[in-house]
């Protein structure tokens, strides 16, 4: 599809990922506007239903950004998030969507550069995968 602009939803935990996103902003680090950030108190708050609904509404890609492994502000929230994401990845394959459209990433609050880099990488990956078949179907 020509000139396809991916729509990517990023669930970012308040303590690390959202703060890293904030730092990317204050350092004026460019990252694609395709990434729509949703702040959550902890990546462990994100439920399978949130992820699946995002795809149902036409998101081309979704990722959950949490604290570095071992450093979750709420102790194990990011571990739970990772398990849920792996579970939903399998569900996406059953539905007929590529499981690469969903990822878990980790970063610390000071990693503005990493936030910007991951946002760019994810956007490019989804651009290569193409629009979500759900988004295409909704548009018709």
């Amino acid at each position: 599809m020509e000139n396809f602009e991916p729509v990517i939803v990023a669930f970012c935990c308040h303590y690390c990922a959202y703060t890293a996103a904030d730092m990317a902003g204050s350092q004026r680090l460019p990252y694609p506007a395709n990434v729509k950030i949703v702040q959550v108190p902890c990546s462990g708050k994100v439920d399978a239903l949130h992820l699946v609904t995002a795809f149902e509404k036409g998101a081309d890609g979704v990722y959950v950004a949490g604290c570095l492994e071992g450093d979750c502000h709420f102790k194990k929230g990011n571990e739970r998030a990772l398990r849920r994401i792996n579970y939903v990845k399998k569900y996406l394959e059953e539905i007929g969507l590529e499981s690469e459209r969903l990822e878990m990433v980790n970063m610390s609050a000071g990693m503005g550069h990493r936030f910007a880099q991951l946002a760019t990488e994810m956007t490019e990956k989804i651009r290569r995968l193409g629009p979500s078949p759900i988004r295409t179907a909704i548009a018709q």
């Binding site: 399978a48 239903l49 795809f55 149902e56 569900y91 539905i95 007929g96 759900i134 179907a137």
Partner: protein
Amino acid sequence: MITAERKPLEELIQYVKPFKRILLLGCNECVTVCAAGGRKEVGLLASGLQMALLKSGSNIEIRQHTLERQCDPEYVEELVPMIDGAEAVMSMACGCGVQQIAMRFKDKPVFPAVNTKFMGASERQGVWAERCQGCGNCLLGTTGGICPIARCAKQLMNGPCGGSTGGNCEISEDVDCAWQLIWDRLKALGLTDRYLDIIPAKDWRTGGGSGPRKIIREDLAE
């Protein structure tokens, strides 16, 4: 509780493909506890089905509703106002619930969304194991609280067998030898003498051996 697992999506798609409007029903009891058919799973399945069908060019309207239980007619009756709007019903409850729905709404095709597995208990979060097979004559008082019918692969009344190794059943190292567990329990209770009492062969008439079972409480049944 009764445990269950969602059927593969592919199978469920085949069930609902012919219809344009279905009712997807969850149950707030056992299948909620084992995360197979509660309100959240209803949401997940509705979303998944809709996406899968949208992908293949068809459209389906899925109405989502979760009953407190599906095994009691009083709760199933709550569906009356919404049943006409549905061409078919898919139930995420255990087999008991699915049948109850089918019995009440004889003109609607009813499909199961889960495979009902066993009566079990939680070992830890996210892990459920078989504990009871409804044999109808509970001997847990004799065996130190461990069931040799549900937990022994051979359902021995006087185990263990020669296959018991290192506390595990010979069928798998992931399965405890029930009789090892029983012996350990009797030892902890200081009742090892009881092990010498021979438990007679099981009378399976109470355990499903005489066909479908029923309980009638004369004080309760009108």
